[in-house]
Subunit: 219 residues, 2 copies
């Protein structure tokens, strides 16, 4: 059994909006509903668990009416805590693989999540990632430090792992921006799978116009 976990428990404090970004309504749908649709439509995903903010549990449950969604549960204070809550919940289901996706990346394609899952089945751990094409700098107080671009990747979600591996990675607690980092800390190699330029993370208010335009064209 493969379970999709939709992480929709972020507060989105960089957005400057009172409504967390995953609940912004754009193109007639809340943003979290876009990637949810990809999970629901994929035959590779047997069940979906949604992790969200306490105050939004009711709203999300109302929007999510597919029997494929096994539950909507409350997340933790950090992304990693939310992942651990999902893992605890899934304990009784004992899935073979879990596919995690951030609801702040609305334009998820079914093909991308299936590509990542299928690679994780081969190697145990995989993530969508894109080669970095921009010049990257670290800004210090007085200067810019240029970071070599070769071999640099931007990690996206979806990320897929064997359930047992992800549990081990989270056994000691800790906080990370994604789940490949604690998995790799176990000495496990994480495979990078071709990501998708559509699957960008909505972070700032400036991103919303882009989301609006794409929502119009997104089937």
């Amino acid at each position: 059994m493969n379970v999709g976990v939709l992480l929709a428990a972020g507060k989105g404090e960089r957005m400057g909006s009172p409504v967390p970004k995953q609940f912004l309504e754009i193109g007639g749908k809340m943003l979290f509903e876009y990637p949810l649709k990809a999970f629901l439509e994929s035959d590779a995903i047997d069940a979906v668990l949604v992790v969200t903010l306490k105050g939004w549990l009711g709203t999300v449950k109302e929007k999510v009416r597919s029997p494929k969604v096994v539950d909507v549960v409350e997340g933790g204070k950090t992304r990693s805590e939310s992942v651990r809550r999902a893992l605890e919940y899934l304990e009784k289901m004992r899935p073979e693989y879990v596919v995690l996706h951030d609801a702040a990346r609305p334009f998820l394609r079914k093909e991308t999540l299936e590509r990542v899952l299928s690679e994780a089945k081969r190697t145990g751990a995989a993530t969508a990632a894109l080669k970095s094409v921009d010049t990257m700098v670290w800004k210090t107080e007085s200067s810019l430090r240029y970071v070599p671009r070769d071999g640099m990747y931007r990690i996206q979600t979806p990320q897929a792992f064997s359930f047992e591996l992800l549990k081990r990675a989270h056994a000691e607690g800790g906080d990370w921006n994604d789940d490949t980092e604690p998995v790799q800390a176990l000495g496990v190699e994480v495979t990078l799978v071709e990501g998708d330029p559509f699957c960008f993370k909505v972070t700032y208010e400036e991103d919303l116009l882009l989301v609006e335009m794409l929502a119009k064209e997104w089937r």
Copy 2:
């Protein structure tokens, strides 16, 4: 006098298309025509120089019929060589400021280029940049090295410089992915200006669907 330089001399070898990406026709226009429009419409820009590939000089000249475009010239083998050809051409015009933009970033807004130019007028050197929101990794043969995200920026174009400063930065030759790097090597601080998520670089074939969708909505 402020001159806009549109760099359209790249071969786009990562695209896998026989036609360099700036000449792909999407939404009834070649990609280089999108940012050109922003240059033409901005009152802050007095003249525009287009640098392009030898084999495409005729096509570009045909498309570019505005008297604001002073010329279409042949670029060099590398991005930096193309910039130096532009600087040589501009010598006789002696502009105060130049605004450089990569034609591979089609969705340039007039407001962005004006923001960058206006900051360069204050400090001498400015570039559009976006905070990095994805987890970044360097991929080595056997592992991923996680790069701290705090303080990390993705450098975009437009980039604006005082003409004299940019000339000094290029006086000794050299090749860079952008023009802030040789400017900073002179000990000059480069200001980062809020970039634009629309202003991404078209690099891979996978980016084209995104371009097609946006072109439909782009005014």
